[in-house]
């Protein structure tokens, strides 16, 4: 494959991953790693490091917007990053020691969890979400002056959950927002919008910690990483600016099924099995 075709192929992969991630409210990592491993047959560490670098790019773009809206709680992010960055470095180091098969299976399980979370959001929790979102909208996130307009509770549990998210980020090349946001919102009582914005800032810092572990091990393919990162940045920026976030029940169900199927393929790759459609 000539250089330009290669750059274009990885750019397109990043573009699609970034756009899908923005439309579904997920990080691009859950799409990038399966695409690079199952479709392009790149080694797992190269896919994970490319994904981490792409996550840094999207986090910077999204965080800049959230910071302009003053939704990000920077001091909370820095405190939680104490466990998250340490977790990401530990995850990156552990990933270099354990079998890639196990990492494929773990990634598949994370995809199942993500698909399940999406299904819950359209099924059982729909009514809860509607009733709580009315109250949620009234909860102040930004104060005109003085201290924070909300109280933060259960720090130890929050630090433990975000530390786990960091570890999974370093091992698998995901942002970990799927764990951080519920931990901040449900456990630490932080308003959802502030939790989302704070998580967006945090995933970039966490991904940097993990990315350098792979960089130092020589597991970063510079061309793949640069092409995917640029594609994800453009895809996420365009999708969040010009397209509506998907709330349609049928589309969310469809994407959840797709995620579940990709998860099956990742688990299959861990067992050296090939399912039809991907990874042939």
């Amino acid at each position: 494959m000539s250089g330009f075709i290669e750059i274009f192929a990885f750019l397109l992969t990043g573009l699609a991953s970034g756009a899908l991630g923005a439309l579904l409210g997920l990080g691009g990592g859950v799409f990038i790693v399966p695409a690079l491993t199952l479709l392009f047959h790149l080694p797992l560490p190269v896919a994970v490091s490319s994904s981490l670098i792409a996550i840094v790019a999207t986090s910077c773009g999204a965080s800049a917007t959230y910071l302009r809206q003053h939704l990000t709680n920077v001091s909370l992010a820095l405190t939680l990053e104490l466990s998250t960055t340490a977790g990401a470095i530990a995850g990156g180091l552990v990933a270099g020691l354990i079998s890639h098969d196990l990492l494929f299976i773990l990634f598949g399980l994370i995809l199942f969890f993500t698909a399940f979370s999406m299904l819950r959001s359209v099924d059982g929790e729909q009514s809860d979400a509607e009733s709580s979102s009315a109250g949620e909208a009234d909860r102040p996130v930004v104060a005109a002056d003085g201290d924070l307009p909300y109280q933060i509770h259960r720090w130890p549990a929050g630090l433990a959950a975000t530390g786990l998210a960091g570890m999974l980020s370093g091992m698998l090349g995901i942002g970990g927002g799927v764990i951080k946001v519920p931990a901040m919102y449900l456990v630490m009582d932080i308003p959802l919008r502030a939790a989302t914005a704070t998580s967006s800032f945090m995933v970039g810092v966490t991904a940097v910690a993990g990315a350098f572990v792979y960089w130092n091990r020589g597991d970063v393919h510079l061309l793949v990483a640069a092409s995917v990162a640029l594609g994800v940045y453009i895809g996420a920026t365009l999708a969040s600016r010009y397209l509506q976030r998907v709330h349609n029940r049928f589309l969310i169900l469809l994407f959840a099924v797709v995620l579940f199927y990709v998860g099956l393929n990742m688990v299959g790759a861990g067992f050296h099995l090939t399912l039809p459609g991907l990874g042939g």
């Binding site: 494959m1 000539s2 250089g3 330009f4 750059i7 190269v46 670098i53 840094v56 790019a57 986090s59 910077c60 773009g61 965080s63 800049a64 917007t65 910071l67 302009r68 003053h70 990000t72 920077v74 001091s75 820095l78 405190t79 990053e81 104490l82 960055t85 340490a86 990401a88 470095i89 990156g92 180091l93 552990v94 270099g96 020691l97 930004v142 104060a143 002056d145 003085g146 201290d147 307009p149 970039g204 810092v205 940097v208 910690a209 990315a211 350098f212 572990v213 960089w215 130092n216 020589g218 970063v220 393919h221 510079l222 061309l223 793949v224 990483a225 640069a226 092409s227 990162a229 640029l230």
Partner: protein, 118 residues
């Protein structure tokens, strides 16, 4: 949230936006220049980065790989730069607990960058 926080938010937003943009543009330029090199071929394995000690020299020669690598490094150093800016802002406000958190996070990141191995 104090007025100082609003200023810090705006500053952090700018650091993140412009740092990531500069890094991505440099990385893209390096990638294109690399693809334009005669006989350029991309091995299926890893395209190795220059050691940090040799990067500046390669950059001065206009080496496309060094340009690409510098772009990615700028991108990766952007979030730590934002934390540094936040730490500076907290120092001015004498919010020492937040300064301590920022410094420890930067130290953990430095540990990750240092080539730590198990």
């Amino acid at each position: 949230m104090r007025e100082r926080d609003y200023m810090m938010d705006r500053l952090l937003g700018r650091v993140l936006r412009y740092g990531s943009l500069v890094g991505l543009v440099l990385a893209f330029v390096g990638s294109v220049l690399l693809a334009l090199q005669p006989g350029a071929a991309f091995a299926p394995g890893t395209l190795s980065a220059y050691p940090f000690s040799q990067l500046l020299g390669a950059l001065q020669r206009g080496d496309p790989l060094a340009i690409l690598e510098t772009g990615l490094l700028i991108l990766l150093l952007t979030p730590p730069a934002a934390i540094l800016v936040a730490a500076g802002s907290y120092v001015r406000e004498k919010r020492w607990r937040h300064v301590l958190a920022a410094v420890i996070v930067l130290l953990i990141l430095a540990l990750g960058m240092s080539g730590l191995k198990l």
